[in-house]
Each structure stands twice: as structure tokens, then as C-alpha cells.
Amino acid sequence: MSTLVETLQPRFVGLAPRQSGDHPAVRCPAELVLPLLQCLRDEFGYSLLMDVTAVDWEEDTPRFSVFYHLFCVSDARYIRVAIDCPDDEEPSVPSVVSLFPAADWHERETFDMFGIRFEGHPDLRRILMWDEYPYFPLRKEFPLAGIETELPDEEVSEETRAKVLSAPMMGGPFVSKSGAPMSRAEPRAKDQSWTEWDRKPTKEIE
């Protein structure tokens, strides 16, 4: 276990070391994230917030974890802070934009992709998808091909009666599941309802 985590542990109750392949990592209760990051920034020199992201653990509870990677410029050290979202249905964690303005876009992206709300974020909107998009694409249940949705502009979709169609899966990715029966483990494209010869059905413009 790293010495940094040992020094931090008595000051923040509930802080636990986290299994990591490289850098020191801590698991922190959601309500402690602001004081912890402030302490790391002001006292330990982790002044550069590199990254904010989340992981969807699918069936585990808690389902979502938010990860912060902080970097210390003077010593070139990293630390990883992971917090679990208390609620699986409507996950939310405190926003750290007040400490690191860099978190602004990262948190918006995490919200956009996972549906995790960041309480206290000044302007929590979607950033990569359009505002009315109903799904959270990086959640594990969201299919790789996408889901058929209405076009972002109502006027256009009324006029053209077109939709955003799910992506073609012919040609990949081909990955087989290890340990599955041979018939299922065989690598195959994830959607074989249409091929080069059997054209993909498209909405006709009337």
C-alpha cells in the first residue's frame, strides 16, 4: 500500500486503498470527494486534473463508479480517486468544477455518456450527443449498433419522415466469448439481419 494513502486515511474517514495496476489509488465515499480533492490539490500538489470518467459495472452494486486522475506537475506523480455512486437508478455525485475548472467538460461528457448527474455543476448539459437524445450510450445495456431515434430537429423529421437508423454491423467487430459453447463462441458480427446482397431496409421518403 502506498504511503500517500496511509497519510490520508486518518484524515478522511471511510477512505480505503484500491487495487491498482500502477498508480496509488483510493476509494472514497461520494460526500468526501470535494474535501479530498481540495486537500490533494493544495497540500500534495496534485494541481492538474487529467481526467474524469466513469465505469458501468453492469450487475454489481453500486453500479457506477466515477474515476478521477490527478497529476502532480512538480514530481510527475499520479493518483487515482474512485467514488461509487450511491444510487443505481439515478446516480449522482458532487461536482468538482469549483476546484478544477477542467472538470467542466469532463463531467458533462460523463453525464452525457452514463447519465450520472454532477450536483452543483454550473451548466450540466449533453456535450457529444444532441440535447434531446434519450439514451446514455456508454452504459453496458446500450447496443453497439445504436438504437433507432428521431432526428434532432422536429421540423426536419416531420418533413423527411426519416430517423437516425442503427449502424450496420456487417464486417465486425468479431469477438468470440471464451468459455461459451462452440456454437455461441464462434465469432460473428453482432447484427446479421442484412448483408451486402440483402440491402439494409431504409425508410422511404414519401
Partner: protein, 412 residues
Amino acid sequence: MPETKEISIGDVGARASVYQDELQGEDIAINVGPSHPTTHGVLRLIMELDGDVITKCEPVVGYLHRGDEKIAENMTYNQFVPYTDRLDYIAPLANNVTYALAVEKLAGLEVPPRCAAIRVLVTEMARLSSHLLGVGVYGMDAGAWTPFMYTFTEREKLYTLFEELTGARFTTSYTRIGGVSRDVPDGWLKKVSAFCDQFLPILEETQKLLTRNRIFMDRTEGIGVISKEDALAYGMTGPNLRAAGVDLDLRKDRPYLGYDQYEFDVPIGQTGDCYDRYLVRLEEMRQSVRIIRQVIQSFPDGPWYAEDAKKIYAPKKDKILTSMEELIQNFMIVTEGPRMPEGEVYFEAENPKGILGFFIVSKGGGVPYRLKIRSPSFCNLSILPKIVPGHYLSDITVLLGSLDFVMGECDR
């Protein structure tokens, strides 16, 4: 439409004040983009103007979003290599190398010295090609056409070298986990060295067109000043951060691929304005040439792939065709992917645009459970709402050019 008032011709000052009065309180919203010659990709800036001065700027990204992270979580580690080309499509080789290093860190693999040398060489050449585009197109944003012709000619020469090495000019997909896809061809190193010899005089000549050019200096000096504190707070990296005066270069601070064996300097800016960012890129190109020459001088012999990592990368072709064991292994790697240990790793490397990072969460098996790409352009752009207000509309082209971003990487 307000009525124009009669004013005497020649009294320019009076005319200006009349218009000022009429426009008082009217803010104009203006869109730059989504597709605009100075945005180097699909970026939309919604700006509010008061006269000619920008009061508010809201960048809109996401037009190029392709879901690269979702794709990565549905394919094996090796299959994702070509997708990394499409992130920063100006310097695909640097992306390939960073991705391979991240996966090797997860697998606990060390590449042999020859492979590391090849990777350093291609990364620095990618840096040259990226900065050549950055500087050339930046000059064009400021109204100078000629430097662009010089730098693009040099880029073409670099791409010819890439083609000889990797078989492709733009989408190289050169690295593999534990090695590179092929060794350097005979005589290729000599060509690279010849390129370096003729490149430096041309770089000198290019910079003569810009560095002391009065128009260029007037348009860039004091524009888009980013302070040290702001640059750090907004998570900027790469030449943009160094121009602001922060000495952060992962090649020096956390050396990977044996960067510590090579001698080079890290240029640091003083004011953090557009002119400094240009100077930093220019000097970085010279340092890259310095590194390339040292790599060629001490180019090690030996294998260019890790031999001990049996379960990670596909065996050699001649072995697949002659040995049953290797054939089975090849089949497993192709269908299921390499056998990776469980764990979480975060690897970052100094790319031309800034620090590119990969956060990989593995649950074992050949497919990453979660792969997050920390793209430098995304972080560099988030500072725009902070620095743009207060500038004239015509400064925007220069400001955007000086940040040198690539939208393919920003939106992923």
C-alpha cells in the same frame, strides 16, 4: 433598420459615434462553424458580440462523435489499433505507440530496445508532421500563404517515409501489442537522416517568413494570453501548456521508451500568447530532429517484438504455418483476443497535441471492459469560454489556429 443621420463627409470620428449610439444595447449573436476553414474540423462557436468585441463564447463539440470508446469495449485489444489512427489523424503513429504502450502496461510487457527505438523514431516524426501542419496552417489563419507551401512539402516527404515503413501514408496502424508490425526496411534510416539534413534549412527559411514578420507579430502578440494558473486549472497540456510557462513534458518527467537516453531540451514560453505557442512548436521541431538523429546513431540490433509474451500477440507467420501449437495460439488470439490480466491502468504519453491518455479497466480476457481516451484537444478546447471574451472577432482565427486542435480527437 434605423435611419441614418446626415453627417459631414470626412468627419470619421463623428460617424463612428453616431453608429455607436444606434447600436447601443444590441448584442449580436454570431456563429463560427460548425465547419469553418479556421476550425480544422467540425467545431461551432456561438459568440455574442458587442460591436466588434466578443462578450461571450460557447463552443459546441460533438459533431464528429463516433463512439470510439464503445467500439473499443466491443473488440479485442489488437483490433482497436486502426481506430487509434482516426483519433488524431494528423499524427496517427504517435497515437498507435501510446495505445500500444498503455496495453503493454496492463499486460506487464517490456519491448526490446530496437522496438523502443523504432517507436521513438516514429513518434518524433509524427510530431514533426503534426507541428508542420500546425505552424503552416496557423500562418495561413493569420493571412500568410507561403509558409503553408513550405511545410506541406516537408509533410509530403515525411509521408513518403511513413509509406515505406508502414505501407500507408495516413492511417498507419503500425504498432502491435508487444512490438511493431514490421522492421525498418533496408536503407530507410539513411533516408530519414537525409530528410533531417535538408529539413532544418527549410525550417529556417519558413520561420524567416513568420517569426519577425510585422503583420504576423501584430496579429499574434498579446492575443489569447493564457496564464500559468489558468492553463493548469483547465487541464491544458502539450505545447499550449508549455507556452504558458509550465515545464511539463512527460518525455522528461516520466520517461517511457527510453527517452531518458536522448538529449533534448523542452522549450518553455513566457507570456502564453499566440506568438509564444508558435515559437514553442517551432523549437520542438528542432528538438525532434535532434532526437531522431540520436536514435539513428544508436540504433540497436535485435528483435523488434517482445519474444517472451506468448499469450499476448500473434506468433510469427512462418511458425503458424509449421507448428500446431503456434497455430492454435494464433487462432485463440484472433478469435478471443490476447489473454490480459485483470486490473486498472492509466497510461499517458506526450503526443504532438498534448498528453494523450488511456485508462483501461480489464476484467481479464481479450476485450477491455472499459477504455477511456483522455484526448488533449478536448481538454485544450475547454478553456475557450474563458479566454475568448474581450477579443475582436478577427482574432478568433488566429487564436483557434494557435491552439492546434484536431476535432476527430476532441469528439472521439
